[in-house]
């Protein structure tokens, strides 16, 4: 049983590698689907802003409220804005936003492409002289790669605003002082690596979801499985990529 599962895992890993190889080949082939890419950016990015901004705001507020007692114990309450800024921007917001995108974007792409696969819409596209891989996969992966970082930037700003409200629930820090402390505590080495890794998060979410949807089998049951697997595998990959990014940042002494 274990051998069978291991074999299946290795086969799937190989298939995903081939799928991503095909993505890069098709990406640089002439005849880009620019209009469809923009449309996907709108659907994946713009339509996720509300969710991402809401969660970003709540995270900022909650992290601030929960961090305060510990800092008060050590008499370091004044460090609160700086501390939450670093933890939010470097780690919490990128990872939480990526997980939300894995749920929303991943399940959406997995189910949409899966449904198109089992109802022969992808074959119909192929027959009508359109390269379905380029039209459906390349556009969505590119859109996810570009939109997730943008959503993270939005979420960062709103989370920091939530932090400002959290600080002022039990304290009295002016708007200018709060932002001065936040910006003072954030360095180049905090922002760039945290933003860079979100491109990889977006790429992983887009690629895995497209792979799962595009290779769906076994009818409508398969569509559900593809949507589910898109979310699960994308989420795990977000954590793995985050771990690698932290190690790399540490290795390059960007901290």
């Amino acid at each position: 049983m274990k051998i069978k599962a291991t074999r299946q895992f290795l086969i799937e890993t190989g298939d995903i590698t081939r799928f991503s190889g095909r993505f890069f080949v098709e990406l640089f082939l002439k005849g880009g689907e620019y209009a469809e890419t923009l449309r996907q950016c709108f659907f994946l990015g713009y339509k996720s802003i509300g969710l991402v901004v809401t969660t970003g705001f709540i995270i900022g507020l909650v992290i601030t409220i929960q961090s305060r007692p510990t800092l008060v114990t050590f008499g370091a309450e004044a460090w609160l804005p700086g501390m939450i800024a670093v933890s939010l921007v470097r780690e919490i917001v990128p990872v939480v936003t990526a997980l939300i995108c894995a749920g929303k974007i991943g399940s959406g792409i997995g189910a949409e492409l899966g449904s198109m696969k089992v109802t022969e819409q992808i074959d119909a596209m192929d027959v009508s002289g359109t390269n379905p891989f380029k039209y459906l996969v390349v556009t969505r992966v590119v859109a996810a790669t570009l939109m997730v970082p943008l959503l993270v930037v939005f979420a960062d700003v709103v989370a920091l605003y939530g932090g400002y409200l959290g600080v002022n629930l039990r304290g009295d820090v002016s708007w200018n002082l709060y932002w001065a402390q936040v910006l003072d505590s954030l360095a180049f080495g905090d922002i760039i690596p945290s933003l860079a890794k979100t491109f990889f998060f977006g790429f992983a979410i887009g690629l895995i979801s497209c792979y799962k949807g595009y290779t769906t089998r076994h009818g409508t049951e398969g569509v559900g499985r593809s949507a589910n697997a898109s979310v699960v595998i994308s989420s795990i990959l977000v954590f793995i990529l985050d771990l690698l990014a932290v190690q790399l940042t540490d290795l390059l002494q960007l901290t």
């Binding site: 198109m116 109802t119 022969e120 119909a124 027959v127 009508s128 002289g129 359109t130």
Partner: protein
Amino acid sequence: MSAEAYTNDTGGQMEPVIRLTNVCKSFGTNHVLREFNLTLNRGENVVVLGRSGSGKSVLIKCIVGLITYDSGTIQVLGQDIQSMRPLELDEVRSRIGFLFQSNALYDSMTVRENLEFPLRRHRRRMSGQEVNRLVMEALTNVGLPHTVDMMPSELSGGMRKRIALARSVILNPEIILYDEPTTGLDPITGREISGLMNELGKKYNISSIIISHDMNCVKAVADRIIVLVDGKCFEEGTYDELKNSQHDNIRKFFEL
């Protein structure tokens, strides 16, 4: 061999537009097609009859290059389908319509966008007005001009089939491949679809291969019938010839 040379060789009334020679296709140990031969002449409607799982759908998917076959040759409009480069294959596909069993209308697009899709791909220089004219003409042909701005999910099964048929003919193809065009439809709608297939075939001089179990549809559209058994052409003839066949494999279809 180029399409032009092919036409010149054969010429005249019986010009083959599709020719399958000794085509074999297996999925693992399941031999779906075994040295299968078929010729479709211009303007002809050939029905492929066979039991479920006998490889009929695989056959027409091989013809448009959606599935690769193991051996033999498939020539479509004089060109070998498996040895073509992607752009050449796209060019040939633009001359073939394909009606899928599930209709395969794009769920996220309106009826207009569904019909515009192949036009935008193959007639890039066509003006918006011309595209609109062709879309409306195709919809009028199938009697559904009022559905132009509706979503596929708002349409009945028969309407979706008609829209799919309109999409299949919008590029004015020389050949249409029908995969069970009347399956899942009530007998009246099935008859209407069969009538439309005949009407459009005559109007645009289309040759077609039809996969069907529906004997009413078969009777209405078939110039010639090929019975597929165990991956091979078991029998071939007109509807009346096969109806009088004494062989069990054939009689069963006509007794339904």
